[in-house]
Amino acid sequence: MTPLCASNVKANLFASHRNLGVSNDADALEEKVVDLQEKFMQSITLGSHYWETLSSLTKAEAESAAGNWDGYDARPIDRVSCLRAIQFSKLLPMSVPTPEIHIDTDGEVRFEWYRGPCQVFSVAVRGDGELAYAGLFGANKAYGTEYLGDELPNVLLDNIYRVYA
């Protein structure tokens, strides 16, 4: 029942939660959740955030499919990081602005919320699920590492909102 207990601020209808139940009812409930998610994804209102992210990711992937795409010997996009990034994008609450997607020089996918040079927050998604993040908020900065799980880590959500505070 984790999805029903999730806090509103993190609410994302596309987030997939691990089904820890073993009963037939648990399986049936999971099927209904998946069914509902597919319906939500077709919605222009509810699905737009997710589709915009996917669209940006597809574009970034095309631009960086080959190495040296930046002219400074950048590595081509890491396909595993790309899959993890899709998983990460599903965890983003609909209340946060759609991030820009870039590919890092090491081939990892980066999500960036950018208002200006001193109002920026970035999350790089590694193939092993590590999330390296850094933000600059005026004179303050934050950086660290989290891991991809069933929910968006609070520290990431807090820092995304700091960009727009």
């Binding site: 400074y72 200006g116 920026v120």
Partner: protein, 137 residues
């Protein structure tokens, strides 16, 4: 390399020296805010970020260096969009060092990047925030 580019520079980089990071990708800058984006200062895998020392050069020479030594050295055609210009003091402020290898002339590398990726991202954000964007018209 034209002679004027090989103007003698002190071997050590002074804190007030200007350094140029050539912008070769559209995601290296933001037109709306007229700013350099952190991606422009992300180091490559060898952790040596290429810059050029541009003190004493007029802007046309800055573009020539970029065209000859940066764009010309790339394996496939690229566009030179502009430069992110920073002071050497901004580099020491984020605890990086400058290796003025002078190969090619005026070239230097920002070195001493930490291993932790999140720290490198943070440093790139600080460098970008201290940089001024000069676009090639």
């Amino acid at each position: 390399m034209p002679e004027e580019f090989i103007l003698q520079l002190p071997s050590a980089v002074g804190p007030n020296e200007s350094l140029a990071r050539y912008l070769t990708h559209s995601n290296h800058y933001n037109l709306q805010t007229r700013s350099v984006r952190p991606t422009a200062f992300e180091p490559p895998s060898d952790l040596r970020l290429s810059v050029f020392r541009i003190n004493g050069l007029d802007i046309e020479h800055v573009w020539k260096i970029g065209q000859v030594n940066v764009i010309g050295a790339m394996s496939r055609p690229r566009t030179l969009y502009g430069i992110g210009k920073i002071k050497a003091s901004a580099v020491s402020h984020v605890h990086l060092d400058i290796d003025p290898d002078n190969v090619p002339p005026r070239h230097a590398c920002l070195v001493g990047w930490p291993e932790q990726k999140s720290r490198r991202m943070s440093i790139a954000q600080e460098l970008a925030a201290s940089a001024s964007l000069i676009l090639r018209s």
